[in-house]
């Protein structure tokens, strides 16, 4: 086992266990916990047995194990962006509903003064 493996593998193992425990205890989103548990498991296996990625790469026609890891990293990065985008859109929608609720419960009738709602742009 080289120095890199000695330093990184325990960290990845802890991260993996933390996600598995979260999954078993039902904390947070089940899908997100599964996603990250799979990522840490794959990373751990690739680091512990570097030859394995090369074998898979040769079988899949990519040739180099490092290239295979790189391609998967790009794929996971895009998947991460996409999941973040969905989460952000859900949050945006909730903010809009809150803002709408405040607006609908405080209509200002014609001619009446508009009471000072705090200006968030100030």
């Amino acid at each position: 086992m080289n120095g890199f493996q000695i330093v990184v593998l325990p960290i990845i193992t802890i991260l993996f266990i933390e996600r598995v425990v979260a999954l078993l205890r039902g904390r947070g989103l089940r899908r997100s916990a599964l996603f990250w548990a799979a990522i840490w498991l794959a990373a751990g296996v690739a680091i512990a047995w570097p030859g394995l990625t090369s074998s898979i790469a040769r079988m899949s026609g990519v040739n180099r194990g490092a290239d295979l890891v790189f391609y998967f990293a790009i794929l996971f990065m895009f998947a991460g962006f996409f999941m973040s985008y969905l989460r952000m859109r859900r949050l945006e929608s909730e903010i809009t509903q809150l803002v709408r609720h405040i607006a609908l419960t405080n209509p200002q009738r014609p001619g009446g003064s508009v009471s000072g709602v705090k200006d968030d742009h100030a």
Binding site: E92, I95, L104, N106, R109, G111, K118, D119, D120
Partner: protein, 248 residues
């Protein structure tokens, strides 16, 4: 109503000579989303309230005196405490109008591009029971001082709508529209910002409610061009719309 009475009433006549009876006008709710429009909203509201008593301005987190100017001019004002975009403001206005028992809901821009006279032409086919939704079309009607770049983007939007949404219309992004109570109840705008216009077309198609286009006149000014979306922002709008279609 005689011609002179109609002229005195002033504003709900169209160039095609459509007039709405007073009892219909009282059931029309005009929704005007506004963001930093203090310099224009007063004139716009002032013109609309001469013909329609139910005018709702949604102040979408403006930093200026838009809300007080609209209220003084005779509108009911709903305030978004932070800016959420035109789509969100329209949905807030629709929700409020429906709560107030609106039978006809009209969306109208706050920058002075639209004519009050065109509202009657939009509401008329709905009041007659022919359609549930009327969409204003500047390309069937008249458009003044439209820059060529904006014309190209708008025409591109029409082509895109025909190809992707499969709805045959001549003007896909006109803010002047009218809905019956039934149609307004079925519409649910979820795209807060400018991509809502394309989302609306999809929802109109999916609702299977009868709709049609009405010729309207749009007048572009330096102010409205400056306030409006840049031609490049069409790419951002397209991106948001396509992602929404992709993710549901």
């Amino acid at each position: 109503m005689t011609d002179s009475e109609q002229q005195a009433a002033g504003t709900n006549a169209t160039t095609s000579g459509v007039f709405l009876p007073d009892d219909v006008c009282r059931r029309v709710f005009v929704i005007i989303p506004a963001f930093n429009e203090a310099s224009r909203v007063s004139d716009v509201v002032g013109n609309v309230v001469q013909a329609y008593e139910n005018v709702i301005v949604i102040d979408d987190g403006s930093r200026d005196e838009t809300a007080s100017a609209a209220a003084k001019a005779g509108a009911t004002v709903l305030r978004h405490v932070i800016n959420r975009g035109q789509g969100a403001a329209l949905q807030t206005g629709i929700d409020y109008a429906l709560r107030c028992g609106a039978e006809f809901v009209v969306t109208f821009d706050s920058d002075g591009q639209h004519r009050v006279e065109d509202i009657a032409a939009l509401v008329h086919p709905i009041a007659q029971g022919d359609w549930e939704i009327s969409l204003g079309s500047r390309f069937l009607g008249d458009v003044e001082d439209l820059p060529n770049s904006r014309r190209a983007v708008l025409k591109g939007g029409v082509l895109f709508t025909r190809l992707v949404s499969r709805v045959k219309i001549t003007d896909a992004h006109n803010g002047l529209r009218a809905f019956s109570h039934k149609a307004a109840s079925k519409i649910r705008i979820t795209l807060d910002r400018m991509a809502h216009a394309s989302e609306l077309i999809d929802q109109i198609r999916d609702s299977q409610l009868p709709f049609g286009e009405v010729p309207v006149r749009i007048r572009y000014t330096d102010y409205s061009i400056e306030k409006g979306q840049s031609s490049l922002s069409a790419i951002r709008i397209l991106f948001h719309y396509l992602l929404k279609r992709l993710t549901g």
